[in-house]
Symmetry: C2
Subunit: 240 residues, 2 copies
């Protein structure tokens, strides 16, 4: 994720959750996120560190028409290739802007790609995303990033999607820690996360069971709910 | 930032923006964010990579009472020190839980710190944050993290706070890219970020001027508003 916008605290990020949820549906686990400033060296270093280590790398932000949009240049530098105008991207922009004032120099910037890159379709606003190797460059605007993800649906190699079920309780985590650990130990292959909250003046937590085995997740959730009830704590299946 | 919770897409992160805004008020720039899974090796590696390279490192999440709270252990491993019970933390927890069912084993987990660590006051819910070297471990629950940051107000060494002003416009970025670049070049020392949005069916962007020189920021914002108006685009001081 690329952006002074996020690091300055000005904009509340929405892309991490959106990309994570989409990856889950593809059967892929989001393994790490880095947010770095609008700086070519920093972007290139982060991209090179992650692309060699992970199956896929998604970037959001910095592919627009303005002077602070430097993602394409930075990733070209990371791959050690020049930036070129992609002919189909140019055509897409010409068509898109034909009725919107024409293709000026700033708009043409959005046809620039690292040499050898492919495009990611943008059903929202013309300017495409860019893919080179296992790196996917997407827009920073969440609604546009969402449409680019849509266009990538089913194109990545995923495993079995992770299934999750949630049980919530208005009880401090510290009262149910032993019970949780025992439940997790009783169901090998499930990870239970405990996510505390403070809501309407009460402390509570949601307990999330995750596994790629849906039936196992279901059995574990039922077991946890029974154990909570036995301990005198009302379980909320589905979470709070 | 530590948490399967965020990486699974289940929880929309709020701590990045909160920590960034707080750091700005201390005159410190947030330079990078990493979100890693609940895995001791991964947490330790990220902490060691960042703590040596940055002035301060803040972590959020994973300091509660449950089995998946492994931040303290991971950071102790990163520093190569054992985990010990902090006597004042134990006292704080004993006092806090005196009227709340007493200090059980799970709750006592929250008194565990890397050897040599200090506490960060938690005015919200008892269990303190933990500080070792330049690493600050805070709660993942945003309201609790907020109170821990409050307790740290003015304790870090900051520079002049960065001042920002925003001018918005309902115009595609691609129409104003040249104008923006020219405005930035006319005011040395100011960085202008351009943040596009899609709102109420219209495209637009907010242009954010940032510098530690408040007057310069103000002059630049005024200049940008004039240039936009001259180009026939209504400027919205304060942003949209």
């Amino acid at each position: 994720m690329i952006g002074d916008e996020i690091l300055s605290g000005r904009t509340q990020d929405k892309n991490v959750a959106q990309v994570a949820a989409w990856l889950n549906r593809q059967g892929i686990r989001l393994d790490e996120v880095r947010i770095v400033p609008d700086d070519e060296g920093r972007i290139a270093a982060a991209v090179n560190a992650l692309r060699s280590d992970k199956d896929y790398l998604f970037t959001t932000g910095g592919i627009g028409p303005t002077h602070d949009d430097i993602t394409v240049d930075s990733i070209a530098a990371a791959f050690g290739v020049p930036v070129v105008i992609h002919s189909r991207a140019r055509q897409i922009l010409e068509d898109y802007y034909a009725t919107r004032g024409g293709l000026n120099d700033a708009r043409l910037r959005m046809a620039r790609v690292p040499e050898g890159a492919d495009l990611i379709e943008n059903r929202e606003s013309g300017a495409p995303g860019v893919k080179i190797g296992n790196v996917y460059m997407m827009a920073g605007v969440p609604s546009i990033a969402a449409r680019m993800l849509e266009a990538l649906d089913g194109t990545l190699e995923g495993g079995r999607p992770v299934v999750s079920m949630t049980v919530g309780a208005y009880a401090p985590e510290s009262e149910v820690a032993d019970l949780l650990r025992a439940t997790e130990e009783a169901h090998e292959g499930v990870a239970i996360g405990s996510y505390p909250f403070f809501k309407d003046g009460r402390y509570g937590a949601n307990f999330v069971m995750r596994s790629d085995d849906g039936e196992l997740v279901e059995r574990t959730a039922e077991d946890l709910a029974s154990r909570l009830a036995e301990a005198g704590i009302e379980p909320f299946p589905g979470g709070i």
